[in-house]
């Protein structure tokens, strides 16, 4: 049981380290790009709103594998900056996940009652004050639980990179198969690895949900 893990520790260690690295980098990228897109979608400028909506509709309806495919095989043909497979995997995950982050942030902003902002403007708050003191604190409550779901999904989605020359957790099974190691036990350990990564996220989500659902 344990010997599969010990004998192939090189695979498991590099695999999961790369998964975590992919996850962290693309999470930061997706949160930044997604928030920017959400700001565009709720802005009073029609050109920005349209672009944001177009972006979200395109990427939400494209398979992530296709986005990876584009970055892995088509991107080099454009003869832009030379990037490693790993960087391109981060880009693919970022660009795709940003669409989902955008929708979560946008619907979070929309859950805040209009009266709240109207009251704050009536009190003479400026735009920045309204945003930081009234809207964001309330929006965060409804954003965090679904955002955690998006992040969990991102973590699982990193495994697609395994199909495009990135040695990460998804690639452990094919590599084990090549070595002739027992796959069922390997699968068990991969599952354990993902559970260890996902459980803290889920626990945080449950905890915040419980704490904040009362306050509304």
């Amino acid at each position: 049981m344990f010997d599969v893990l010990v004998d192939n520790r090189d695979l498991f260690v590099t695999g999961f380290l790369n998964t975590i690295l992919l996850f962290l980098l693309s999470a930061v990228g997706a949160l930044a790009l997604g928030t920017l897109l959400a700001a565009m979608r709720v802005s009073p400028v029609p050109a920005l709103r349209l672009t944001g909506a177009g972006y979200v509709n395109t990427f939400r309806n494209t398979p992530l594998t296709l986005v990876f495919f584009f970055f892995a095989f088509a991107y080099p043909r454009l003869e832009l900056v030379d990037l490693s497979f790993f960087t391109r995997a981060v880009l693919a995950l970022t660009v795709y996940t940003a669409a989902f982050v955008c929708e979560v942030v946008r619907s979070g902003v929309n859950t805040v009652d209009v009266g709240q902002a109207e009251a704050s403007r009536a009190l003479g708050f400026t735009f920045v004050q309204t945003l930081t003191a009234i809207v964001v604190p309330q929006a965060v409550r409804s954003v965090v639980p679904p955002m955690t779901s998006v992040l969990i999904a991102l973590l699982k989605n990193t495994t697609i990179a395994a199909g495009f020359s990135v040695a990460e957790a998804g690639q452990i099974t094919p590599a084990l198969s090549e070595r002739g190691a027992p796959l069922l036990i390997g699968f068990f350990w991969i599952a354990v690895g993902f559970l260890i990564l996902v459980i803290p996220l889920t626990a945080m989500q449950r905890n915040l949900e419980k704490r904040w659902s009362v306050a509304r």
Partner: protein
């Protein structure tokens, strides 16, 4: 229209918004123009790279690939719906020996990345003497994952049916099985229809994972077409064509989900109120 973030714009704000709009339009045109320029500069718009679209055998190949994607989708969706119904009912069972294993199965398959599942089926099945092949590895993987998500959706739907419905059915002397089949599930499915259809969109997108185990679907066709040297290896044009096909298919399904949701809402205004299901933690999954 007043929104949370800004008031009705006055003359100054209107002027500012217009200026911002012009600036944004310039920026966006610049960005799109740059990408277009790179496409043009590397010859992606040249006729030679698009000529393959005119060849009948390649059109047939594209249609076959579309058929393969749709086959995986239809079989996967039917199996996932059956799996979901079965496990939702098992999770709602009064018997702990049925409820507990069903809970474990559903949680397990939701937690495992679909790619890992599909790879496992594809590589491990032949060793167990089972020739699953690419198609069935993909379809079984889709069934297990999306079926587990759908099980949670169905369960949330059943739990959202007003309690009086079950009590009335019990009072009429219906069997447990009849209560579930004739009273609870039909109402649950109706409430959950938009969510179910959007999960099917996820399933449709996930069929692209078949590419990773060499199932000959749309993305595999794109790779093949992109490698044809007689058309100067048109990988970007073929990726664009395949993307357009996927987006069209998914938008059509998404539109159906939106239509069903709107219809539900419209009915709610006139007829008896439909229950609002508690979806927290159910749609914890982002499509792949």
């Amino acid at each position: 229209m007043s929104s949370v973030l800004y008031d009705l714009p006055g003359p100054r704000a209107q002027a500012r918004n217009k200026a911002l709009g012009v600036l944004a339009a310039f920026g966006l045109v610049g960005l799109v123009g740059f990408i277009g320029y790179r496409f043009w500069a590397t010859g992606q718009f040249e006729g030679a790279k698009w000529e393959w679209l005119l060849y009948e055998n390649l059109q047939v190949l594209l249609l076959d690939a579309l058929g393969a994607t749709l086959a995986a989708f239809v079989v996967g969706a039917l199996l996932a719906l059956a799996f979901g119904l079965l496990f939702a009912v098992a999770r709602l069972s009064e018997h702990a020996w049925l409820r507990m294993p069903a809970f474990a199965v559903v949680e397990f398959f939701r937690a495992i990345p679909l790619v890992v599942m599909i790879f496992f089926l594809f590589f491990a099945a032949p060793r167990a003497g089972l020739q699953l092949g690419a198609f069935w590895s993909l379809v079984v993987g889709l069934m297990l994952y999306n079926g587990s998500v759908l099980a949670e959706v169905f369960r949330a739907g059943v739990l959202a049916v007003p309690r009086g419905q079950r009590e009335a059915a019990d009072a009429l002397g219906l069997r447990k099985n009849q209560v579930m089949r004739a009273v609870l599930l039909p109402q649950a499915v109706r409430v959950m229809l938009p969510t179910i259809v959007s999960q099917l969109v996820v399933l449709l997108k996930d069929t692209a994972l078949g590419f990773l185990i060499t199932y000959h679907e749309l993305l595999d066709a794109a790779r093949y077409l992109g490698s044809l040297t007689e058309f100067d290896r048109p990988i970007i044009p073929s990726a664009i064509v395949i993307a357009a096909i996927y987006i069209t298919l998914c938008l059509a399904l998404s539109w159906l989900a939106g239509y069903l949701e709107r219809r539900n809402r419209r009915r709610r205004r006139s007829g008896p109120a439909l229950p609002t299901p508690d979806l927290r933690g159910v749609r914890a999954d982002l499509p792949a």
